[in-house]
Amino acid sequence: MMKTRATAIPYLLWMVIFILVPLLLVAYYAVTTPDGAFTIDYISQVGEYTPVLVRSVWLAFIATVLCLLIAYPLAFIISRKSGSGQRTMVMLVMLPMWMNFLLRTYAWMTILEKNGLINRFLAQFGIGPLEMINTQGAVVLGMVYNYLPFMILPLYSVMTKIPNALIEAAQDLGCNGVQVLIRVLLPLTLPGISTGIIQVFVPSVSTFIISRMLGGGGNLLIGDLIDLQFLGNAYNPNLGAAISLVLMVMILLCMSITNQFGDEEKGEMLK
């Protein structure tokens, strides 16, 4: 007993120094003026940015739904492949992640630009140029493209644990394709779905690179807002901390909702 405690100390220290202390600092900055006096002015100021908050949540929500719709069938197909087929396809899913995040997003800029790949191609047929870059659509595309693997992997890992016989049993008892999905697959993959949603939604809602590069100036997200307060010309760390705090509370709320139907010892069920 003592031994396990002793070995836990480095991790505990790590967590205190790099997680707990920064969190407390954020909370501290959020409720104090630069002189150190207590205030809730900054917190209430966050309300002025409601449109930005709403836009962030809305775009992240769309991106998460799209990721789920794309990843679910794909993960299922991968999980039904043979061992080597599965490894190859999982590799392909992970492959883009080996490239730098910024580079990948830059690549999309050159594809979507006014003189980018798509518009030049369309120009051959006299179409366009289309407004693609600097739109909300481009931001969602960037989110889906960058975070899709984080949806596929948890889904794939719960799906590989579902034996084919379970699907056949459902068919045998009278399920058509849709009923197999609703009555067997969805309930059994809920833990993967909730993990995937968190892993896509959380980085999407707080991203600032994607919106800045693909969304132009008109599609400011919370992430950009926070970035402006710390590193931009708006320099106001206290307001930045307040926005961060609000964002954190929002994310925690979202996570607790998805966790509601994620847990329930479902991990054990498929053993």
Binding site: E168, R183, E268
Partner: protein, 349 residues
Amino acid sequence: MKESNIVSLRDISVDFDGEPILVGLDLDIRDKEFVTLLGPSGCGKTTTLRTIGGFVHPKSGDVFFDGLRINDLPPHKRNVNTVFQRYALFPHLNVFENVEFGLKLRKVPENERKARVQEMLELVNLAGYDRRNIHQLSGGQQQRIAIARALVNHPRVLLLDEPLGALDLKLRKEMQIELKRIQQTLEITFIYVTHDQEEALTMSDTVVVMNDGDIQQVGSPQDIYNEPKNAFVADFIGESNILDGVMFEDCLVEFAGRKFDCVDKGFGKLERVDVVIRPEDIKVIDPENAPLSGMVESVIFKGVHYEMIVDAHGYKWMIHSTRSEQPGAFIGMEVAPFDIHIMRKMEVE
């Protein structure tokens, strides 16, 4: 009397990745019978079952159910239900919900659902287990739930794919009797797949012995055991001594360097045959004047009898005898004419 066939397979061929699994298989299954598909692993018995269930689509041939061709009918529309090898119970549902699953899909009203599930749980001796979780049940209990889940839908045919394979010996024996009882109570057709010959003989009305994707013999357990059609069946069902022999004339066969009287007829003159003798049909006698004699190599006590391996005339004979001999002893052996089974050599492909 015209017997009605509930399931008929006509000239069924199935390939997996170009590998032939079933080759031109014909099979008729009579209504309300307990039929066992018996064979070594890889013989195509499970594939046959899955063809009837609708999970395997034959490359050629037809599947008939109650006289209707059902080749293109998907599994959920077939009036058969399956008990899967590893039970395949739904882990997210409790016992009651598992059994209820098929009835709910058929939109059976709730009252009737409850009554039918209870009836089934009683049938498999698990009344009162409704609210249990699946992973709280033992292997044997899960097996019973799988059977109840299939039977509650009142299928005309129940398919069972080695359902007792994962149970220990004692439980397996109990479940064999249980299954037979259920089949007789409900009067429906059971098609049962196993590689365990004892299981097949215990439960079945009809045994279908399979090997290499084709049927070797169809018959009652007694027929299969007493009158195996070829050396494969003889070897697979129970234990056998199989020797090369030559048929001299009707009722006279030569093997182990000597001519023996037998009761089989209708072979060609000097036709090469397989001679099959069951280990329990060999009598140990005094070596003097014995038709066969040899040296005992090993003796194993098997409970009811001793199993001896005897080296005689260039063949290792297996003998089951209640009398024990010392290894190294020289003994004589005798076989009655009606215990010598003559079989045509299997064609070598």
